[in-house]
Structures are given as C-alpha cells and as structure tokens.
Symmetry: C2
Subunit: 363 residues, 2 copies
C-alpha cells in the first residue's frame, strides 16, 4: 500500500489573500492560466491580482484554455510562459485550467521539448504549480493528473508525467457563480471519482479512507444540489468533497465510467461530469462484488442501485446518440483493454454492451 499526497491544501474564505505571502517562495513572476471568462466573473482573477500585487510578484495571464484543453493549447501557453520568463504557474478555474497548467509547467521547465513529450515516459521536472479551483469536481488541485485532448486519437488522456501542485487554495465562494449545469455535472464527476476509486483494482485501505469519507460528505449534498438551494456551508462541503475525491483517485486512478466517458465528450460534446455520471449507476449494477457495492450505497445513503439511477437521471438528464455511434463507442472501448485494467474482475462483452445500452438512449 502507498499513500502520497504532498500538496499543501488550504480551504477557507479569502484563502488567496490569507496565504499570499507563501506564494513568494515559488518565484518572482507567475504565468496565470485560466479559461476565457469565469475567473473574471467569479472574482477569482481580481482576488489573485490583489494578492500578487501586494507581494510584488509579477504575472502574466494566459486566458485561452478551452474546455477539454488540447495539447496544442498547452504548448501555445508554454511558449508564452517561456518568452515571459516565468518562475511558476498558477492554474485557476475548473479542471481544464488546472490540468493544462501542469502540462504547461512541464514544457516551460524543459524548453527543448515539444508537446510530444506529454505522452513520453521521461523523468522530467516541472515548474511549481499552484492550483486554485473555482469549480468543485475534478479534484485536479490535489491530483498529479493532467488530462488533455489528443485530437489525432479523438479522445482525452492524462499525460505521462505525474505533476502534483505545490499548493491548493480552495475558496468555495467562487463555486456559486458556476451555474446549475456546471454544478450538477461536476457533482456527478465527484461521485465518479469516489465510487471508481473505491471499486478500483488498485483500491486499498488508504484510498478507501478518502473515498468512504468523501461519499458521506457527498450524500449530504444530494438534496441541495438537486434543488440548487445551496447554502454557503453546502458550497464549502462541495469544495471539500471534490478535493477529497481527488485524493482518492490520486491513489488509484479512475475506472470504467471515466474511460467510457471520454469518447462521448469528444464526439458529442457531452460535459465531462455528465458523461461520467450517466454510466455510473450501470457500473454499480454490473460490478461483480455486490457486497462492496452495498458498502458504497450505505455511505451514499441510497437504498439501491435503482435509487442511484433515478437520482442521476433527474440530475443530469439523458444522453442520446445514434445507434451506429453507440455500437462504435462500445466496440472501441471493448478493444481498449488497457482501460479495463482498472476493473478488478474480467469484463464480459455482454456486460459492457449492457452498460452502453442502458446509459445511452438512441435518438
């Protein structure tokens, strides 16, 4: 068994301002990596600028990270960071910005490399990364993963390098700006992380500590998220749950629902959390060790897998694909045996096909 979680995590109101002095140790100039809009709307950009200005830390922004960021975008940002001579990278936003910031920090630190290095097994260091999540869900602020879109393979995959942020700064006040769809989708993504880690081939007592605790936190948010009547405490709990789910998958990785989601996101632009969430109940249904599934249900405070299914349907709606695409997704994933290793038992084609048929409606 292995436990390794070297990220210094702070969670509180005004966290950026409170810990601004600690940013100085990472250098004199930062590249701040964000998406196009949200950090301007939710106030995080203003808060970060105030903190960096106060500490005399210079910074430049790269604010062109798209949802499901591509290798090309990460390379472009790294070029900018190299030109600007930055010492560290701050990824601020959702999983896209934080994941991209890790890949960018790798390329800036190794200026002789190009984007191909993302998926090569080379022992390389990266610039220090600071992660500031403004949505809860990916847990990227505490994971070493950086999932990029590989256009030539028409899918998404984590880069080969494990890059932990040095510090994660969580302030749940930003979460309330995310809107209903993002909140619900990321809430489903969190459940994916918790459940897939708990039922993973690599699962042991250490990640189960995080997963089981996270599931109990998650269950307390079922009603507030469904009705979108969220208190300040609910948002803080959501932020924490997403982070703890990140700690869980750091020790195992994700499993079938994540693996199955990527093609759906790539080809049908289904948001990541939704694409994961629609497969989850069917993953619980086919999972061989139903005693473990019952343990999961008890932490989540659901009476049955059917209840999970009903809840996720009401939360996320359905996903419609063509009959041909559903067949294609199924065959493609059935052939991708590397992704099956996360599942601790052998998977029959019949079960896999059932998961696709149950989760995806034909339009």
């Amino acid at each position: 068994m292995k436990f390794y979680m070297p990220v210094l995590v702070y969670q509180e109101e005004n966290v950026i301002w409170n810990h601004r002095e600690e940013l100085r140790q990472y250098g004199k100039k930062a590249l701040v990596v964000t998406g196009r809009h949200s950090s301007k709307v939710n106030g995080s950009q203003k808060d970060l600028e105030a903190a960096l200005d106060d500490q005399g830390i210079k910074y430049v922004f790269f604010s062109e990270i798209e949802e499901n960021p591509s290798m090309e975008t990460a390379e472009k940002a790294a070029e900018y960071g190299k030109q600007e001579g930055v010492d560290f990278v701050i990824g601020m936003g959702g999983g896209s910005a934080m994941d991209a910031s890790k890949a960018i920090a790798l390329l800036i630190k190794n200026p002789e490399e190009t984007k191909e290095v993302f998926y090569q097994n080379k022992p390389l260091l990266a610039l220090p990364v600071i992660a500031i999540p403004t949505t809860a869900g990916t847990g990227s602020e505490v994971t070493p993963y950086a999932i990029l879109t590989i256009h030539e393979k028409r899918t998404k995959k984590s880069i080969s390098h494990r890059i932990f942020p040095k510090m994660a700064l969580l302030d749940s006040k930003y979460l309330s700006y995310a809107g209903e769809k993002i909140t619900k989708n990321t809430y489903a993504d969190i459940l994916g992380h918790l459940v897939e880690s708990f039922l993973h081939a690599k699962s042991d007592s250490y990640n189960r500590m995080c997963s089981s605790y996270g599931m109990k936190l998650w269950s307390k948010l079922c009603q507030p998220v469904a009705s979108m009547e969220m208190t300040k405490e609910d948002y803080a709990r959501l932020s924490e749950t997403g982070m703890i789910a990140g700690m869980a998958i750091t020790h195992t990785g994700t499993s079938l629902p994540h693996g199955m989601s990527y093609a759906l996101t790539y080809e049908y632009q289904i948001p990541h959390g939704k694409a994961v969430g629609i497969f989850l109940p069917f993953f619980l249904a086919i999972y061989e060790d139903q005693e473990a599934v019952n343990e999961v249900l008890s932490y989540l405070d659901f009476g049955s897998v059917e209840e999970v299914s009903e809840y996720m349907k009401s939360l996320l709606g359905k996903v419609e694909v063509s009959h041909e695409d559903r067949e294609r997704f199924f065959h493609s994933f059935a052939a991708d045996t590397a992704r099956h290793k996360a599942y601790p038992y052998s998977i029959g084609e019949k079960q896999l096909r059932e998961m696709y048929e149950d989760a995806l409606s034909v339009r």
Copy 2:
C-alpha cells in the same frame, strides 16, 4: 482548514527490501538511529543492512536511544553523525528512535547549533529522515513531532521544529516481537491520538477523516489485542491504524490525556501509552460536547464511556501514586495553561481534579 501530509508512506511485507532503491536519492551514507535491543531481535536491523549493502549505501549505527529520549542523547548522536559525515538519518524502532532521529537530523544539518536549539523558534532545515516503525503507536513515522525529555523541566515536550520524515516504511512483521505490554500500551496510545485529535480545539473535517476512519480500524482490534491472539492481518491493521492516527494528530496535536501523561511517565516511569490510556475514559466523561463523544463511541463500537473505561482498565491495569504526588500533578497541570488550549472549552479545576482522582489510584 489545512491538510498537509508530505510523507511518502509504503506499507507491505518486506517493505525495506522492496523500496531499497529509493533510499539512494537521500545520500551515500546514513546514520541509523535505534534503541539498544529491539531492532536486533525483530529482524529490522538485518533487513535494513541487507538493503543498504545492496544499494552501496554506507551506514553507521547509533543504538543508544533510551525510552523517552533526552535532549542530551540526541545531541550525542548528532555529534557522532557529524563526525561520520552522514547525508541522511534513518530512525528505526518505536517512537523514541523515530522522534530522536528528527532532532538528530536537525542538529547534524546545523553544526553550529547545540541542543538548546531544539526549543528555539528558528527556521532551520534538517537532513532527510527515513522512518521505519517497528512498533505501532506513536505515528511518528508520519508526524512532524519529536518529543524529547527535558530533564531540567522534569517533563517531555515536542521540539519547536516540524520535521516530517521523507519516507515511512511500514512492515508489520516486526510488531509481533514487541510483546504483550508494549503492544497493549501502544494500542492505548493510538486511541489517544485518534480521540484527542477528533475532540481537539483545532479539529476540522480534514483530521476527522483520518480520526474517524482510524477509530473504525481500531475497534476491530479490541478483542485480538485484549487476548493477544493476533493474526498477521491484525498486525497489519495495527500498523495502519497507528499511522493513520499519526496523520490525525499531525493536523491538530494531542489534547489533555497526552498533556497529563508526561509527568506520570517522567516521575513514575509509567510507559507512555499506558499513561495516556488511563486518562482517556475520564477525558471522554468530562468532555463538554457529549454529542461528539457519542460519535466517537459509535466509531469505536462502544456502548458507553463506562465500557471504554472497563476495557482500558482490563487492558492496562491501574496506576498507583501517592496522594501527595497526585495533588502535585494536578496543580502542576492546572497551572500549565498552554496545554489547555487543545481543549475547545474552558476547563474547570473541579473537572481536572476529577480526572486525576478517577484515573490514578492512591497507594
């Protein structure tokens, strides 16, 4: 809220051998810090020598760490380490050896300092420390604490410097050599860490994740430890529980039972775990928030505080002191208000006196 646990933890059979290559990154020569006997008896010394020899890492032993190690012993070991020009320190044994190794690593790294620096607030670095616990209990392998005996103050206290081991190597096969008394005392110490962290003034959701999970693991060992009919799996669980309890106190520190135990250990040579354990039930009894106490009892699977009290008595036996000493201990602790800060409410003298009277028999 803050989470920080940078120690790389491995737990498995033959852990030293399995991870011997990773030791090389810490240097070419190690100071191995142990007690006088146990590492020779339980096989850990032989295992470590084989691993270091295999990797061509040179080493010298300092095997004079006493129970409740003194500042003087740590200074003496550091002198030896300086003479030998070691690059890193391996603390192997119980809490005494591991705690001492941190203080020693600090002094070797700062050769201009003397033992007085242990309790000075200076921002100093230490040599890398590797922790190999051969008893379960202190959790020192994952905490930044190093508790030394201060003879001139007739007590024990953690040094002012927070020194996390770089790596903790846990192999529960060594635990079975510890014998009944050590096993039972350290088992009580673990409960102290779990409960005192959960009910600490600094307690938040992060350390409660570790504490609540650890209490559930702890409860499964009640019968095996009481009867000393321990399986291999029980020893592995004991090892894990002690480590997770260490993660919990890393985030909060300990509370009244630990604070009250130190004088008893110093003046009556009561083993640390036993000295903590006899105060624990009475701590639960006086604790103001009895709802939180009930949550603790539910994790531990005890029906009442009385049940905890009965169990601890049968596990540890009683502690007899003179009437005068009991009064003296009470007055001394009542005046030590710095130690009261761990308690989230105000403590009345009456309650404190009751804890002493209930826990300590007059002989």
